[in-house]
Subunit: 895 residues, 2 copies
C-alpha cells in the first residue's frame, strides 16, 4: 500500500508499445551471462552497507542489473560469440516479453551472413550496438521500467544499467500471467475433535523442533488469504510477492491488501534457518526457498528433501537386514562347512603354472563375509526397495501436486511449444544437412570408443592388480586388498571419465542441433545421464554378471589375448567383490566428486577472480571495500543450472536401488550424504553463487522420467543379482531337490565338481612341487571325470539355471505388480488438496453469482435512463455488436 503510493506514475501511455523484435540482448552489446540479479547481503554485511541497493534517489529499489562492456569493442565481439552458447532462461523470457508486445517488428540485422560481412568496420559495429542498446533501453522505458545508468564505476570496462520495475508494471505483468486463475482461498481444514485433535496437538508438539523457525510458514493457513501471484517474465517476481490479506468475514474476499516489503528479510531467514549445518535435522523452509529462488530451485530442494526423508526408513531396514546377516553368520551351514577344521577339500589352482592347489578352508573369511550380503533377508530387502522406489515416486507426485497448489501453479503451463528456436539452430540448420552423414558416424565412433576404452582401462587396472597378487604370498587377506585397490583405481577412472563424458554429451548435443532450448536441455540431460550412468555402472555390472561366468574349466580355461585367463571370483560368489566395488564407488563418488568438488572449486574460482581483480588495481583496495552492491556480486560464480545437482542425486538413486540386493547399506550411506548435501547446496546457492533468475516450473521435468526408468531397471537388475550373482537359488535348489535330509549339509560339496589333474593341458599344470594330488575340485556343475561324458555340463546345472530364470520371472512380475498396486492405491492428488480445489470451485460459483448481481446494480445506478434496456441485454453472450467491443466472452459482460 505504502509502496504503491510511493511509486511514480506511469511514464508512458498504456498504448500499444512497438518494440523491436530483438532475438537476444547480447546482440546489442549487453554481456548476457554477466547480467545479474542482486544478491541480498549476508547478515554480517548487512550492517549499514546498503550501497547500490537503491537508485540515486534512495527510494526506488534496484531490481535487476544489466552489464555491458565499454571501450573494449574487440572483446565484446568474442563475448557475443560465447554468450550465444550460454543463452539462458533470462534472455529467452526477455525475448518473449518484448516479442509479445511487438506488433511491427523492425527488421533488424543480426547474426546472419549479411551482418558478418559488415563486421569489417568494427567502429560502425560498436556504434550500431550502442544505438540498438539505446533503442532497447528506450523501449524498456516505454514499457514502464525505470532505468539508471552507471558507467563510472570502480570496475573498469564494465557499464551497469540499473532497472527498477514500478508497482503498476508488475501489476500489469501479473495480469498477463494470471488470466486463468483469478482467486485463491486457503481454507482451514476441518479440525478433528476429541482424541484425534489431542493426538494431533501432541504430534505437533513432538515434531515442533523439526520445523524451521519461519513464521511465514506457520501463519499460512491461519487466515484465508487471497493472494495474487505476480509473475514477471523478465524480473524475479518473488521480490515483489504481493499478499492481499483479508480480515475474513464470512465469504467476502479481500478488503485490505498491502505489499510485503521485501527488504532481504527472506534472505536472512534462509541464511539462518536453511543454509546452515546446525539445522540439519529440520525440515527445509521450502516456501521461502521458492520465494527467494523461484519454483524451479524450490522444487529441486523439495525433491531432495523428500528423497532424503524417504531414505530414513530405507536405511533403517537396510541396517536391520545387515545386522540380520551379522547375527546369522555363525548359523550359516555352507560357511560353517567351509570353515570346518576337518574340511580337507583341495581346490584347483586359480592361475596357470604360478598358482598352486589350495585348501577350501582358506576361503573361510570370504565365505563368512559373503553371508552378510547373501542371505534370505536380502531377497526381502530388494523387494522392499523396489516397493520403496514406487512409493517414493508416488509420494513425490503428491508432494509436487501439493506444492503446485500452494504455489498457485495449477493453472500454469510451460510455454515453450516448439517456438523460440535457439539462436544457433537457424545458423546451423543449413550446415546440418551437409554434415549429416559425418555427424552420425562421428557420434557412434565417439561413444563406442569411449565406452570400450573405459572397459579396457578397467580390465587392465584389475588385471595388473591381480597379477601383483599372483606371487606366492597370495592369501585371502591379500586378495581383499587387491580387490579394494582395484576398486579404487576404478573409482579414479570413473571420476575422470565422468568429466570427459559430460563434455562428450554436450558436444554430441551441439552436433545434433536441437530446435528449441527446452529440447536442447532435455537431450543434453538425457545423453549426459546415459553416459554417466554407463560409466558408473559398467564395472559393477561386469562384476555382477560377467566376472567368473566365462572362466571355462580346469584343463580348458578360456583365454583372452591367448595368455590371460578370465578372472575368477572368490568362493562364495562374486557378491563380495560386487559389494566392495559398490561401496567404494558410491562413497568415493560422493565424497570426492560431489562434496570436495562442489565446495572446493567454487571457493577456488572465487578466490582466483578476487586475486585477479586485486592484481589489476592494487591501490584501489581501500575503495574496493566500498564497492557498489552489484559490483561485489560481480565476483561470484554465475548459476549454472540444476543439472549437476540432479545428476548427482539420480546416480546416487541408482546406487541405492539398482544393486541393493548386494549392498543393503547403500541407503544409509546415501542418507548420510544427503543430510550434508542439502545444507551444502543451500549454502552454495545462498552465498557462493550469484542469485539465479527465478524460473517457474510445475515439475522436475525429465528427471522424473529418468527416476522412473532407474526404478524400473532396478527391478530386473535386482532379480538377476539375486538369482545369478548370489548363491540364493543354488541353495534353494539343493535344499529341495538334492539334499538327502532337506538341510543345507553337503551343499558346498554339491557345488564343487571334480577334476583329474592328469587332464591338465601341457604347461598349464601348477609348478609347485609341494602338493601331490590326483583330484582337485572347482566350482561348477559338471560331470565328474569318471562319467561317460566327463566335464560336460551336468543336469544339475540346467536345473539350477531353470530355477534361476524362473525366479527372475516370478520376482520381476510380482514386484512390478506390487509397484503397480502401490501406484494405484496412492492417489496422485492428496485428498485435502482435491477437497480444497473443489471448495474453491464452489466459491468461484458463489462469487460469480454475486458479481452478476452487482453488475446489474452498477449498470442500473450508472445509467438510470437506459437501465431497463441494458438489463435485458445482460445475458452473457455478446451479440452482434460492432468492433469496439471485440473482446472475449468472459469480458463481454463487464459493463
Amino acid at each position: 500500500m505504502e509502496r504503491n503510493e510511493r511509486s511514480t506514475p506511469v511514464p508512458g501511455k498504456e498504448k500499444e508499445v512497438d518494440i523491436i523484435n530483438i532475438k537476444g540482448i547480447e546482440d546489442i552489446g549487453y554481456v548476457q551471462p554477466d547480467s545479474i540479479l542482486l544478491n541480498c547481503l549476508t547478515p554480517e554485511e548487512n550492517t549499514g552497507c546498503q550501497h547500490g541497493l537503491y537508485f540515486q534517489d534512495g527510494e526506488r529499489r534496484v531490481d535487476y542489473i544489466l552489464t555491458y562492456h565499454i571501450k573494449k569493442p574487440s572483446s565484446s565481439r568474442s563475448n557475443r560469440q560465447s554468450s550465444r552458447f550460454t543463452d539462458n532462461a533470462f534472455t529467452r523470457s526477455l525475448r518473449r516479453g518484448t516479442a509479445r508486445l511487438g506488433r511491427a517488428p523492425t527488421p533488424q540485422p543480426r547474426g546472419d551472413p549479411e551482418v558478418a560481412s559488415q563486421d569489417h568496420s568494427m567502429d560502425y559495429h560498436v556504434d550500431d550496438k550502442r544505438l540498438h542498446r539505446e533503442e532497447f533501453e528506450g523501449n524498456l522505458r516505454d514499457m514502464g521500467m525505470e532505468l539508471e545508468k552507471d558507467e563510472d564505476t570502480k570496475t573498469p570496462g564494465v557499464g551497469f544499467v540499473k532497472i527498477h520495475a514500478p508497482w503498476h508494471v508488475l501489476c500489469r505483468e501479473a495480469e498477463f500471467m494470471k488470466l486463468k486463475m483469478p482467486t485463491k482461498k486457503v481454507y482451514e481444514m476441518k479440525q478433528s475433535t476429541g482424541v484425534g485433535a489431542k493426538i494431533n496437538t501432541l504430534v505437533n508438539k513432538v515434531t515442533e523442533p523439526l520445523y524451521p523457525n519461519v513464521e511465514d510458514n506457520r501463519t499460512h493457513n491461519e487466515c484465508p488469504i487471497l493472494y495474487v501471484r505476480l509473475v514477471l517474465p523478465f524480473l524475479s517476481y518473488q521480490v515483489f510477492e504481493v499478499l492481499k490479506r483479508t480480515k475474513c468475514t464470512k465469504c467476502g474476499p479481500c478488503n485490505a491488501c498491502y505489499v510485503l516489503t521485501f527488504s532481504c528479510f527472506v534472505f536472512q531467514l534462509l541464511y539462518e534457518e536453511w543454509a546452515s549445518y546446525s539445522v540439519f535435522y529440520k525440515y527445509q523452509p521450502i516456501g521461502l526457498v521458492r520465494k527467494y529462488f523461484g519454483e524451479k530451485i524450490g522444487l529441486y530442494f523439495a525433491w531432495l528433501g523428500l528423497y532424503t526423508q524417504m531414505l530414513i526408513p530405507a536405511s533403517l531396514v537396510g541396517v536391520i537386514v545387515f545386522l540380520y546377516g551379522c547375527a546369522t553368520v555363525d548359523d550359516n551351514i555352507p560357511s560353517m562347512e567351509i570353515c570346518h577344521p576337518k574340511n580337507n577339500i583341495t581346490m584347483c589352482p586359480l592361475c596357470d603354472r604360478a598358482c598352486s592347489y589350495w585348501k577350501l578352508k582358506e576361503a573361510c573369511g570370504t565365505a563368512r563375509a559373503s553371508h552378510l550380503f547373501d542371505n534370505p533377508a536380502t531377497v526381502f530387502f530388494s523387494i522392499f526397495m523396489a516397493l520403496w522406489a514406487a512409493m517414493f515416486m508416488e509420494h513425490w507426485k503428491r508432494r509436487q501436486m501439493r506444492l503446485n497448489y500452494e504455489w498457485d501453479l495449477t493453472g500454469f503451463e510451460e510455454e515453450e511449444v516448439s517456438d523460440h528456436p535457439r539462436a544457433e539452430y537457424e545458423l546451423r540448420v543449413m550446415q546440418k544437412s551437409l554434415k549429416k552423414e559425418h555427424k552420425t558416424q562421428k557420434v557412434l565412433i565417439g561413444v563406442t570408443f569411449a565406452i570400450v576404452f573405459g572397459v579396457i582401462l578397467y580390465r587392465i587396472s584389475t588385471k595388473t592388480a591381480l597379477h601383483m597378487s599372483n606371487n606366492p604370498t597370495t592369501r585371502s587377506n591379500v586378495r581383499l586388498t587387491v580387490k579394494t585397490t582395484a576398486a579404487i583405481i576404478n573409482l579414479v577412472v570413473i571420476l575422470i571419465l565422468d568429466e570427459v563424458y559430460g563434455a562428450v554429451a554436450r558436444w554430441l548435443t551441439v552436433l545434433e542441433v536441437p530446435k528449441t532450448d527446452k529440447s536442447f536441455e532435455e537431450r543434453l540431460i538425457f545423453k549426459t545421464f546415459i553416459l554417466k550412468f554407463v560409466n558408473a555402472f559398467t564395472p559393477i555390472i561386469y562384476i555382477a554378471f560377467f566376472r567368473g561366468r566365462l572362466v571355462g574349466r580346469p584343463g580348458s580355461y578360456l583365454y583372452v589375448f591367448e595368455s590371460y585367463r578370465m578372472e575368477e571370483c572368490a568362493h562364495g560368489g562374486c557378491l563380495m567383490e560386487l559389494c566392495i566395488q559398490l561401496s567404494i564407488t558410491m562413497l568415493g563418488k560422493q565424497l570426492i566428486q560431489n562434496n570436495l568438488f562442489e565446495i572446493g572449486i567454487p571457493k577456488l574460482k572465487k578466490l582466483i577472480r578476487y586475486i585477479k581483480s586485486k592484481r589489476r588495481s592494487f591501490q584501489e583496495e581501500e575503495r574496493e571495500k566500498k564497492l557498489q552492491r552489484y559490483e561485489t556480486d560481480h565476483f561470484l560464480e554465475p548459476f549454472a543450472g540444476l543439472t549437476p545437482e540432479y545428476m548427482e542425486m539420480i546416480i546416487q538413486f541408482g546406487f541405492v536401488t539398482l544393486f541393493v540386493a548386494s549392498f543393503p547399506l547403500a541407503p544409509l550411506f546415501a542418507l548420510l550424504n544427503n543430510i550434508i548435501e542439502i545444507r551444502l547446496d543451500a549454502k552454495k546457492f545462498v552465498a557462493e553463487l550469484r542469485r539465479p533468475v527465478a524460473a517457474r516450473a510445475k515439475d522436475i521435468g525429465i528427471w522424473y522420467n529418468l527416476l522412473r526408468a532407474v526404478a524400473k531397471v532396478a527391478v530386473i537388475i535386482n532379480a538377476f543379482v539375486i538369482s545369478f550373482t548370489s548363491d540364493f537359488i543354488p541353495r534353494l535348489v539343493y535344499q529341495y531337490m538334492y539334499s538327502p535330509d532337506g538341510s543345507m549339509h553337503g551343499f558346498v560339496n554339491h557345488t564343487l565338481s571334480y577334476f583329474n589333474v592328469s587332464n591338465f593341458q601341457d604347461g598349464k599344470e601348477p609348478m609347485d612341487p609341494q602338493h601331490q594330488v590326483e583330484m582337485c575340485r572347482y566350482k561348477d556343475y559338471r560331470e565328474p571325470p569318471w562319467s561317460n561324458t566327463p566335464y560336460v555340463i551336468s543336469k544339475e546345472f540346467w536345473a539350477v539355471l531353470a530355477a534361476r530364470l524362473a525366479f527372475v520371472i516370478v520376482f520381476q512380475n510380482v514386484v512390478m505388480l506390487m509397484s503397480d498396486i502401490v501406484d494405484w492405491l496412492i492417489p496422485d492428488i492428496p485428498k485435502d488438496i482435491s477437497l480444497q480445489i473443489h471448495k474453491e470451485k464452489i466459491l468461484m460459483v458463489e462469487l460469480f453469482m454475486k458479481e452478476e448481481q452487482g453488475k446489474i446494480q452498477f449498470i442500473d445506478s450508472m445509467m438510470p435512463c437506459g437501465g431497463k434496456e441494458k438489463r435485458n441485454n445482460h445475458a452473457p453472450i455478446a451479440r452482434s455488436r460492432s468492433i469496439p467491443h471485440t473482446h472475449s466472452h468472459t469480458h463481454a459482460n463487464n459493463f
Copy 2:
C-alpha cells in the same frame, strides 16, 4: 438471434433463488427412470407429425419431459424404492443444479426411518408429494424455466410436465460452466505449398468417399468460429448449441452470431450417415454424435472407431502370418517326418485299458494344422501385437486430446470429488459396521464358489466329451469333433455364467456401499470386468498352460478322483486345441451374446411394452397413432449406460491381444465384428433407446486403465504361450544344441521318450490284442528304460525348460522396452493441437491488451471529470475497497 428475440422475458427476477435442497426428484413423486429427453423423429415419422414437440403455443420447444404417476399412490411408492437403485446421471445433475443454487435448504423428510414410520398415512404422503412437486416446479419457474403440464394424456396413470428452457437461462448456465475458457478460435492450419499440397489434395480426393456426408464437419475449419459451449447441468445442452460465427476480419472476434436452430437436422444426418449399414466403410460423424448424445457417448464411438481402424493393420498382418503358415506347411520338417509313410513310431495308448497303441502317422493332420499357428511368424506376430497395443493406447490418448480440444473440454474437470454421497450410502453406512464380517465372508465364498463351479463344469463337460471318444472308433478326425463340441459346451457355460457374474458383481458392489456414484460405478465396472474376464479366459488358460502338463508318464500316470487320467494334448502341442477353443469362444461370444442379444432383446422388450399397453386399451388404437411425441418415446427402452458396450469390447480386446500368439486371425474376426458393431450400436442408440441425457466426459475413465492392464498382461501371457504352449523353443534348442547337422531332421524322435510296456501297472495296459509291442513312445523328455535312472526327467528337459524361461524373460523385457519406447516417441498431444493451444494463448494476451485499453477509454468517456483519478487506479489489483466489490481478481478491474 431470431430465437433469442422470440423468447419471453425473464419471468422471475435474477435474484438468489432459494430452492429446496432435494436429494432426488423421485422423492417427490416423479418417476425418475421414466423422465425422458425427446427423441427426434425418424425421417419416416417426420412427415407432418410434430405432435408434442412444442408447447401449446407452437413456439416454445419441449426440452425435457418429467413424468409422474397420478392416481396410483401405491405403485408410486414401489417405484420410488426401485428408482433409488437406478439413480442415474440426470438425477444427480439435477440435484446438483438445484443444490448449487440452494442457500437455505428446507429440511425435508425423506427416505429415513422417520418417513418410513409416517407411511401409514398414504393419503397424507401423496398429498405431501404433490405439495413438494408443486414447490419444486415453482422453483424451476423461479430459475427461469417455463413449464407446461399435461395430465390428460392417452397414457393412463401418467402425468407429463413439459419443460422449456428459454435462451437467457441457457446463457446463464453456460456462464457457470465456462468460467475458465472464455474464447476459442479455430485457426486455419498453414497450407503447405508445392508437392505437399498436391499430395494432400490427392489424398483428400481419394479418401473423400470415406467421410460421411456431413457438411458441418467440413465447414468446421473454414472460418474462425468463436463458439460458446452451452452446458446445462439439467438439460441436454446439445439441443441448444450456439454458434457465434464471424466474418473473420484480421483478428477481431465475433461480429455476427446466431443460433443454429436445431430442428432435428442433426438427427436426420445421423440416421442417414451413421446409423446405417450401408455406410459401414465411412468414418463416423463423431462431431454430430457428440452434439446429439453428449461427450460421453461421443467418446465411446470415437474410441470404438479408432479401435476398429487400428484393427485393420493388425488383421492384415494376422492374415499374412496365417498365410505364411499355410504356405510353409509343406516345408515343415517335423510335420513331414510325422506324415512320412515310412514313419513307423508306435505311441503309447492315450487312455488306460480301452485305448490301444497308435501310430504317430495318425497325428499327421493335427501336426500339419498345428504348424499353421505354430511357426516363427507367430513369434513375430505376438511382438507386433504387443507394440500394436501400445500404439493403440498412444493413438487413443492423442485422439482423446484432439477431441477434448475440438469439443472444448480442455478446461473441464470432473466435478465429482468425494461429495454427492449416493442416497443409499447414508442409509447403509450404519448397517455396514454391523455386517462387515459377514459381508467379506460372503463375498469371498461367493466368488470362490462361482469360479470353482465354472472350472468344474468345464472339466466335466470336456471329460464326458473325451469319454465319448474313447470307444474304438477314436480317430484323429473324431478328436477334432470332440474338441469342437467341448469348446461349444464351454461357450454355453461361459455365456450363462457371464450373466450370473454380472449380477454377482452388482450384488458385491452394493454390499460394499461405495460412497459416491462415481466410485460405485468404477467398482462395479472393475468387479464385473474381473469376473467376466476370468470367466472368458479360464478355460483358455487351462488349455494353454495346464492341460497336458500334469499327465505323468506311462506306467505312472496322474489320476484325479482315482480313476480319471489327466487329459493329454494331441501331438503337436496343445496349441491346436487352444486355437479351436479361442476361435469358438470369441466368435460365439460375438455372434450370440453381443449381436443376437443386443439386437434381439431390446426389440423384444419394445414389443412386450407395446403389447402390454395395447392390451390395456384395445379400442384406443386409432388414437394411439396420434400419440404425443413424448408418449411414443415412453415405449422405448431406457438407456442403461455404456458399461455393457465397453465391457464387450474390452473382452474382445483381450481375445485380440492375450493369446494372439496362438490365433493370429483374432484381429480379423474382431474387425469384422466391429464393423457391424458400430452401426448396430448406432442404430440402437438412435432408434431403439430413449435418447440418453447428455453427459460430459473428458476421457473414457476406468476403461483406459483396464485396456492398459490387458495390454500389459498380454505381453507376459504371449511370452508363456510361445515358450510353453508352442514347440518353438524345443525346436530351437534341438536345432542349436542337439541336432547333428543343424537341421530339424530328427526333432520328432528327439522329443519322444521310450517306454517299456512291461512296466505298465497291472490292469492299466491296453486290452487290445492286435498289437504286440515291446516299446512304445510318449512325448516327454525322460531317460529311457535302459538308463541307470529310467523314466527320470532328463537333462534335455532342464535345458529346454531353461531356454523356455530365458525366452520369457527376454521376450517380456524386450517387448516392454519397445512399448515404452513407442509410448515415449509418440507425443501425447498432437503437434497441431499443441500449436493451436499456443496460438490461442497468444490471441488471449492480445485480446487482453486491447481490452485493457478499451476499458480505459470507456471509463474516460463515462466519467469525464473523474477520469484522471480513475486512470491511476486502473492497475488490475483491487485495492482496499469495501464490500460491494467483493469479486475475484479478474473481475476486479472491470470498471
